[in-house]
């Protein structure tokens, strides 16, 4: 029985890895030929072949940063509340359920909600910031959930030891429990950022489907062509892939979409690796533990 189980599990792992490699291989081989510096930096061309994805690539990353800036503190804060302060009653269960329900909302519904509130009602128009807020809605459930689970999973002994030393509850949470829970939270954050990279439907209505010509030499936060201005429309890579696939009129639309998909995968891979490395480093620094 033990033998059979081991074999089955190994087969499962092999199947998954095989599918993943096949999938990634397919995407990369389709798009590999498009990858050159010109493609990565020039703006898209609407009429002729030869357009690139420069602004969109930048937008994807910048949107990620903005979303995480908003979602992480909120998610971790709410997770702390759920794990440490919330009484164990029906109301808390209700909160938990509603949070989970949030994550199953169809992306287009969140997008239209974002359109109504973050775009029209506030008068901002299609902006990076509206997109970041819409994406926060998506990712909060995941972050809250993993934070809460990670916090709960920290051995009680750690918490008790800290309290016994006279450290206040809040400081215990922040300096002892949270760092110990870091790997779990990191997983959640990486999953969430993957979702940010890959999301398209919600962003169609909030961050928009086009990007103004970006002047990368401009660092002000106000100018409409400054890449750092969060109040400008910003088409991300995923949205661009969707757009080119659906209504692309250039002769090389297929190539652009494939190339963009390949670039996106590589970007996600690089980001995940560096986030993990960074997170492990922070974890070691803060807890003197090694996982």
């Amino acid at each position: 029985m033990d033998r059979i189980a081991t074999v089955v599990l190994t087969l499962i792992a092999a199947l998954i890895i095989g599918t993943l490699i096949g999938l990634l291989g397919f995407i990369l081989t389709q798009g590999w030929h498009k990858l050159n510096l010109d493609f990565l930096t020039s703006p898209p061309d609407i009429v002729n072949a030869g357009g690139g994805i420069g602004p969109q690539l930048f937008n994807s990353f910048y949107l990620l940063v903005l979303t995480m800036l908003i979602a992480l503190p909120l998610g971790i804060g709410a997770g702390i509340y759920m794990a440490e302060y919330a009484p164990d009653n029906k109301f808390t269960q209700f909160i938990r359920m509603s949070i989970e329900v949030l994550s199953s909302l169809p992306s287009i519904v969140v997008g239209l909600f974002g359109l109504l509130v973050f775009v029209n009602m506030t008068g901002w128009g299609y902006t990076l910031f509206s997109g970041a807020l819409a994406l926060t809605v998506f990712n909060l459930p995941l972050l809250v959930r993993v934070t809460e689970d990670a916090l709960r999973n920290v051995p009680r002994s750690q918490k008790e030891a800290s309290l016994a030393l006279g450290i206040t509850k809040w400081r215990t949470i922040v300096s002892v429990i949270l760092p110990a829970a870091l790997p779990g939270i990191l997983t959640g954050a990486i999953l969430a950022s993957g979702r940010v990279f890959g999301e398209a439907a919600a962003l169609l209505f909030t961050a928009g489907m086009s990007s103004p010509n970006l002047n990368f030499a401009d660092f002000s936060l106000n100018s409409p062509t400054s890449p750092l201005n969060p109040f400008r429309p910003a088409e991300t890579l995923a949205v661009h892939i969707w757009k080119v696939n659906s209504e692309g009129l250039t002769p090389d639309a297929r190539d652009v979409a494939d190339g963009a998909a390949a670039v996106l995968i590589i970007a996600v891979l690089l980001f995940n690796l560096s986030a993990r490395w960074f997170g492990t480093w922070v974890y070691k620094k803060m807890t003197s533990g090694s996982n």
Binding site: A13, I95, V101, A150, G194, L264
Partner: protein, 315 residues
């Protein structure tokens, strides 16, 4: 204020005494600030959930109260024809489609995901950590449009050739979704399994159980809530997925007769039509009612799963 301090008697008098004797303004402020911040975050979250629910509900309910469509017709009728004369609003095919494709995806992805999680933590931890985990996290970053496109290019023709059918089918949708939710299930399940204290495993092995018996009886049992969370999160994602699914299921409004028939889901119905309809018209409101339905369905789903999880634990 309810400072439950472990190890110290929770007798009310001793609590009060402790508070009075050890009151420290700085600590008190720190605690209050911290607690307030956490509460504010949670409150914000609840506000977001409430406002979205209100938003969807106000639009979705107007189909019934303003446009006069009956709820039973909406839920059980099979004909969907909002542009016809008379306009028909039966969304049962969509409900069925959503339900079936999510169930199929979960059925495929849950064993695979939890199996992979076990593999990564129990059987080959080194390899699992270094290789499998990053690769799975990579999967999450692939945009849904790419999944849909790959499904359209590879999966649909494959099914078409193998089974001599259209290709666009429930099966295609289930497979694509399973692939999409696999990372979620695996990652969260891995963290849950990893959190099981090593002592429990050691104790079981010391009693003479094999590795697999340990896994099955001890590890899985204790990490069941976490694994269930993983599956729930995965299903929630599958429910709400639109772009990838709509490219491979065919979007016909006939009821499916088998795994190989094309279907429609609530999400694809909304995504395909929302942009073409005008805000405030009956057609548009009907789409919002579908979104409201999605919301309610996921609520029910999650409640059921939580109930099951709790039952198991008590046993």
């Amino acid at each position: 204020m309810n400072h439950r301090i472990e190890g110290v008697g929770t007798n009310r008098q001793s609590l009060i005494a402790r508070k009075m004797l050890t009151y420290n303004k700085r600590q008190f402020t720190e605690n209050m600030t911290g607690r307030t911040i956490a509460m504010v975050c949670a409150a914000l979250l609840v506000i977001v959930v409430l406002s979205i629910t209100y938003f969807i509900a106000s639009k979705g309910l107007s189909t019934f109260f303003v446009d006069g469509v009956s709820i039973s017709e909406f839920l059980t009728q099979v004909k969907w024809d909002p542009e016809g004369e008379p306009a028909l609003y039966g969304v049962f095919p969509f409900i069925l489609g959503s339900f079936l494709v999510t169930a199929l995806a979960a059925l495929i992805a849950a064993p695979l995901g939890i199996g992979a999680a076990i593999f990564m933590t129990e059987i080959f931890p080194g390899f699992g950590k270094k290789v499998l985990k990053p690769v799975i996290e990579l999967l999450v970053g692939i945009p849904s449009v790419v999944y849909g496109y790959v499904g359209l290019t590879l999966l649909v023709p494959f099914i078409r050739e193998q089974f001599d059918v259209l290709g666009f089918s429930l099966l295609a949708g289930g497979l694509v979704l399973a692939l999409m939710i696999l990372p979620t299930i695996t990652s969260v399940a891995t963290d849950a399994i990893e959190a099981v204290p090593q002592d429990l495993r050691n104790a079981s092995l010391a009693l003479g159980a094999t590795r697999w018996q340990t896994i099955w009886n001890v590890v899985l049992h204790s990490s069941l809530p976490g694994c269930l969370t993983a599956v729930v999160l995965g299903m929630a994602r599958a429910f709400g997925e639109a772009l990838a699914v709509q490219m491979v299921i065919g979007n016909t409004t006939k009821l499916p007769g088998s795994l190989l028939d094309p279907i429609s889901t609530l999400t694809s119905g909304i995504t395909l039509n929302m942009g073409n309809t005008i805000q405030g018209t009956p057609y548009n409101n009907a789409l919002w009612s579908m979104a409201l339905l999605l919301l309610l369905m996921s609520f029910v789903f999650i409640m059921i799963l939580r109930f099951l999880g709790r039952k198991r634990l008590v046993k």
